[in-house]
Symmetry: D2
Subunit: 345 residues, 4 copies
């Protein structure tokens, strides 16, 4: 069986495993205050260029989302997100458990548009009963989005403008950021994100780490006392250096982006081939997740040999499959898959 | 510098590292639903004997405490704990952040006594304004306690009885359970704990794992839908199999207890030697944390070579030091330390 | 200026004011444990017929909603509501502040349909990642709805069936229940609601009380320790007898329904007259709130003499107005209004 | 039976009842935005002198405490309070339900001392693991305290200094503020409290209102968007003018302080007489609650005719009783009581 159902099927990239093995005997203090974490933080700071940032390492995505949101919002504020956003749909109410409503808006290409947010905020503040409703306090966006699309530089600048206009924070969940930063449509880097967002993450789990998310905070008022809130949310790893070791290794010389490029290249192989064969895609993704629409017959036929994740029925006779590539995906497996998929009827 | 300040200074036990390396390329589904986790769960179930238990793997201690407590209590209920309990003092209000008050009682030997809890509950329910106060809904105990002492079989049975009497759950935080189970005073095992507690943990981080806590739940009503609550609290690791790999390895043939025995043996070396030399201890610990009282002069003298953790001033001229042993502590280092400590004045 | 913008513009019905004055000097114990509250509770119990219920008196609607929902749900559960439901739109995130997500479904005639809930639940439990999403734990419905429509006996029985099928509680917000119970389409009473709902409210504020909502709970497991949760949510009025006095008076001999009938009669006057004159309504309300669609010109023309509440633009040139009747609305004012409204163009 | 067990046994002062009756037919907008509330707010603003304050009216004490605390603290912060503070002991975990820990310190004369808070804060910030504990973010004090004692001007200035030193807010719960402001030891007024506190309340329920607490906020950052948080906590009364009517009447010409003086005078009668007769008091209260220690025999003897509230056993043979006076207490009843109490043995 060849697996394409997700990008977190294996352990970690060999270089990270090696780094973990080599540092295993080392003695360090706990909770992310060790020198390895310091070095890793320093690397991230450098990547962020002129913007002064604070850097934290957390284990997982839900954790980082709920911790950052709890740190940034006052009790009556909610977080504006696309209706397909992970925090709205797939975190078991983690955000609400911190007391905050997720205010969803219809997505365009799985992305939040500045115009939609602006209209929403304008209506909120125009209402005579604004105080009877949840105040929008933050924009949450996933980049790449849940459907593999990416925000352009222009779109991010517009979201920033809306945030400034309505006194909101801009937070970007970069669970697969490496894939976004390496795709053709994207002409920005870590430093740009640090300048445009109040906070964003550089996701490790889905780019070759055992686990881990880098949280980059450029807004000092959000960062104030952040480590208390990290601890309160169960996000302070005792052997914090495990995060430091991995991120130092993956970020020090560009391995992170190399992995992003690698998996994008394989994903583009899939995209081009299937497009040429006449397949449609649910979304026009330029990153490592592709969402082709297959007939039930084709799915049945491939099921003995390949695993995809099933994104549901599109119409009678067709379903949308997610094909995911990762640092561990073999090019020959992708080529084999494409040979096994005939032209669309 | 030789380090005795904590038992989570290094990575993990070599056997666990080996297991992680060997399984690194393996492809598994995520979130703890893979076969390795299943095997690890099965091992724990067997260790728990006749009591039917549900087993979950979480990354860290604060996380497991807040998740279990949130799952077990109704909104108006609090958790009764010793005044020195970790959840009361060192988790940054994580329990309160889930909405629940920690109701502290004075500890005896750093332990909660059944009598104190019974009196507390009796007074609560006797009050005509009980409903204006927080209802005790659970007993939390650490075993070993924060000061290295352990609960006897009899003490646990009495806590159980109090829980039954007042409709409370009994939850034991076993962050260093391996050390407790291997100390002389303890004549019970995993199965006994499963039968006496509603839930307890088998801590990995402080016994040689990279990270991880096994949560054993014997109370079905607490376990109902537990994985939703796990996810909501950010406690569901994407590559959950990392926990499975470690716990399968450390629990399958007794390595966990072997580590506990090893660190206890070294701790007893320290305890016997210092006792003979006339030192006092803040608490009579039988586990891997020892709390001798040293003069400022001695502390100064040892400080160039050894690291302890400082547990604060005891009187003018003396402080309490924590000396911690772990799977990675070398016997010769302990012996060297003891040679370097003269008889107490 | 004649006011039709809401049904809580005045103090209370004269009979209630008289009862408050007459009992003002009386000395009673606090927090709703006095004899007057007991009598009022007894009256409600009798109204609920054979179903054994517990009765609580709270000051306001948001308070009662958040308290009941917090008492009924476990942490990972959300409450299913129509997209126009008050708890979803107009309570400033009060439900989320208790940690629970409001799961909204498209409403039909401002009401939740059993079919929509059933589909939603079926999809939830069919999903392989159900535990990554919020579990539907309760149905919330307003009756009358936010747009004045009412649930039929059949619709409520169907919601009950869906609740039983998916282990959910059924909670009805009856902020204007008196108006619902007195409208032509409704052939059920308090007792039926007690039998079909796990909990429902009999709203006082909008039916002639100074303030107050009766909360009727028929599900014992929700009611267990409810007064603790009441207190925790700030819902236990010190001079609780003020609620007892009002509800004893308004419920003892049918005054509550008399008021409902009175305001419905006036509302029907409006509805019939405007219908005859050719006006459209945004919703087909049979209760005390009517939502006619007026031209901007007409609104302008009436604005010097009448106050409505503005429910927003319907199309270029038209807006939806809310006309509300209450115990204090004078029939001659309604008649005058209708005389001042010409036939629709 | 003559009642001394509390100061909220009756309805409201006749002048307030009259004001409620006279305004009953008046039509006003809801939620505290009407002109009567505006006038009442204006009166409070004037009473607060040069300090610019924002004024809100809430129904009850637990509600105002939890709402203000939720508005003022970030998630990792707790509120420092005396161990006997109402929020620590008698609000069913309402503060914890908003996510915040109550950090209790031993009280002196039922009051928090600046020195104790200063030491606590100094130790918190000196700790290398401060971020593993709850950050003190606010001082909560009751004035009068739960045991009837009052804070002196000097004590409040010192609490203010400690707050400034450690970046905390100072919040005073004045549930019985009228009694404090009228007692001999107190030489400050509303304006002083506005200048020294970030927020304080002027309690109505226990000084002759049907219900209601005035919340005075002088710290603008706490007040920002406060009405959203008010609504979220169920603290926005639909017919908000009921609060406006009462507070306009009781504050416009000093009735509030007149009531405070009246009940203090009666309480001093009790205090002087019992002191002369040789009775001890649990606390040296100068306000309307007195806490004499009576023998079981005396309690038995008085029980047929008088009601006190029982504050528990003091020693074998004696209990502490609370004798409370209110606007409705009759002087002749107090005199009768004192005649019925013989000299202490």
């Amino acid at each position: 069986m060849i697996h394409f159902e997700s990008d977190y099927l294996e352990g970690c990239h060999p270089r990270l495993l090696k780094a973990l093995c080599e540092t295993n005997e080392l003695q360090t203090v706990g909770y992310g205050t060790d020198e390895i974490c310091d070095e890793a933080r320093h690397i991230v700071e450098n990547l962020c260029g002129e913007t002064r940032v604070s850097v934290h390492f957390l284990v997982g995505g839900t954790q980082v989302n709920k911790t950052l949101i709890a740190a940034a919002l006052r009790p009556h504020q909610g977080v504006v997100a696309a209706d397909c956003a992970h925090i709205a749909t797939h975190e078991s109410g983690a955000i609400e458990a911190t007391g905050h409503k997720v205010l969803t808006l219809p997505a365009v290409d799985a992305k939040l548009t500045a115009a939609a947010v602006d209209t929403y905020c304008a209506e909120h503040y125009a209402s005579s009963t604004a105080e009877h409703t949840v105040q929008p306090g933050m924009i949450f966006c996933s980049n790449p989005s849940e459907w593999g699309t990416v925000y352009t530089r222009q779109e991010l600048l517009e979201l920033r403008k809306v945030c400034d206009k309505w006194s909101m924070a801009l937070y970007m969940d970069g669970a697969r950021l490496g894939s976004a930063l390496c795709c053709e449509q994207v002409d920005y880097d870590y430093a740009f994100l640090a300048s445009v967002c109040d906070a964003y993450t550089i996701g490790g789990t889905k780019l070759g780490c055992l686990f881990g998310e880098v949280l980059v905070i450029s807004n000092e008022s959000i960062n104030r006392d952040f480590r208390y809130i990290l601890k309160q949310n169960g996000g302070m790893l005792a052997k914090g250096r495990l995060l430091g070791v991995q991120f130092r290794e993956i970020l020090r010389d560009g391995l992170y982006l190399e992995i992003g490029r690698y998996e994008n290249d394989l994903a583009m192989l899939v995209k081009r081939d299937l497009t040429e064969k006449g397949y449609r895609f649910l979304y026009d993704s330029c990153t490592n997740q592709q969402f082709p629409i297959f007939s039930d017959a084709l799915i049945e036929q491939l099921s003995g040999r390949y695993m995809f994740s099933d994104n549901g029925r599109v119409d009678e006779g067709h379903r949308c499959m997610r094909i995911c590539t990762s640092w561990a995906t073999k090019k020959e497996d992708v080529e084999q898959l494409l040979r096994d998929i005939p032209a669309a009827e």
